[in-house]
Amino acid sequence: MQWVSAKSVGLTQCPVCHKRLRWLASSPNFKQRCPRCGAGVRQRHYGSVGQSWALTLTALILLIPANLLPIMTVSQFGEGMPSTIMGGVVLLLHHGMIPIALIVFIASIAVPFLKISGIFVLLLSVQFKWRISRRQRTLMYRMVEYIGKWSMLDLFVIAITAKLVDMGKIASIEGNAAAVYFGLAVVMTMLAAMVFDQRLIWDSSPTSG
């Protein structure tokens, strides 16, 4: 089966409203305006791979303090117990709350690292033209993009429990520094997935398959 990309026949589409447009210039830095929605249009996001690398690496660095520093402190009768992300999961396991420990583990430890390694694989495969199945890489990109927001779960849980347990000396829960790093890391990975132009996966493809 012969495939023809829009780029190869001088067409493109608006990234926001998906209007079909004729591509007007050939320099890679050129940008035209979508006549329908006014968004800036390029055939491929300009500097997509470099920006995505920068954001992913930033996220990876931010995840180090996010995992090593305490993320929340539970105090009862004046005695504070700071815990890290992993510490919180272990605590839940000790209390026998296995399903909830699993949810927290997936959302705050597994998902960020899987997401970062997923983007790494995509970036490397595009840069070095690896011959991995393009269909599977597209699927992986879609998953990375979809699961992005679920890592915010931990921040929401901290905010919700901090508001509920706000009783001064008797009991209180508060967020600690790691929460800031963790939140920023999640935002960075979401941005890294957004700036990655998934059409690059298919660009190096031979016309068949």
Partner: protein
């Protein structure tokens, strides 16, 4: 082959958003559930840009928004001391506890983004339904599409669930009236996403702007 001939030849081809391949779409009579033949991502067909369904979901969301944010979602008591959780209150507690960046992230993802989504979409859909070309109509809809990844009501819902289970050993937690409104708002936002035909709405906006 010159440009005009090429354009004419590909005029009824659609472009896949994910892999940039040109493909021929079946007739308008075929309902959605189309997939790109090369990368198998979902492809939108020729929808008519229905307004009534998403607009009513937006209205429901806006009605629920106030009580969901300001009324207590959860009540808790430890040793006879009562406390409760509101979405706005959670943001305030974070901000007061020197967690301003976290407070801002939570505020944006759970309160501001959903509110902006509902209100922008409400304005856009109402104007499209009335056929009025208001100032910046395409820009408002464009802004709405950018907000999509940042509104996280479903994640917040799971966050509530996890919080309740975490606190069960420590205190008794009971649902409040705000929870009903929050669930209503979340379902409304899902209904908006399911019923909104973006391409169809874009075509109608284009028709309005071109007079």
């Amino acid at each position: 082959m010159n440009d005009t001939a090429l354009e004419h030849k590909t005029i009824d081809f659609a472009i896949c958003h994910e892999c940039d391949v040109l493909m021929r779409l079946p007739d308008a009579s075929v309902p959605s559930a189309l997939r790109c033949p090369r990368c198998s991502s979902p492809v939108k067909g020729h929808g008519s840009g229905e307004i009534a369904k998403p607009l009513s979901a937006v209205a429901a969301g806006l009605i629920f928004f106030g009580p969901a944010n300001f009324m207590p979602i959860l009540h808790m008591s430890i040793l006879g001391i009562e406390s409760n959780h509101t979405m706005i209150g959670a943001v305030r507690v974070m901000a007061e506890g020197n967690m301003v960046p976290v407070a801002l992230m939570v505020l944006f993802c759970s309160v501001l983004a959903p509110f902006l989504e509902f209100s922008l979409l409400g304005i856009v859909l109402a104007q499209v339904a009335l056929g009025r070309n208001i100032w910046l109509l395409p820009n408002l809809f464009r802004f709405y599409t950018h907000l999509d990844s940042w509104a996280m009501l479903e994640v917040y819902m799971i966050g509530l669930l996890v919080s309740v289970i975490k606190l069960i050993g420590m205190a008794s937690v009971t649902p409040g009236i705000g929870l009903v409104c929050f669930v209503g708002m979340m379902l409304a936002s899902i209904a908006v996403k399911v019923t909104l035909d973006r391409h169809g709405v874009w075509r109608r906006i284009e028709a309005i702007c071109n007079g």
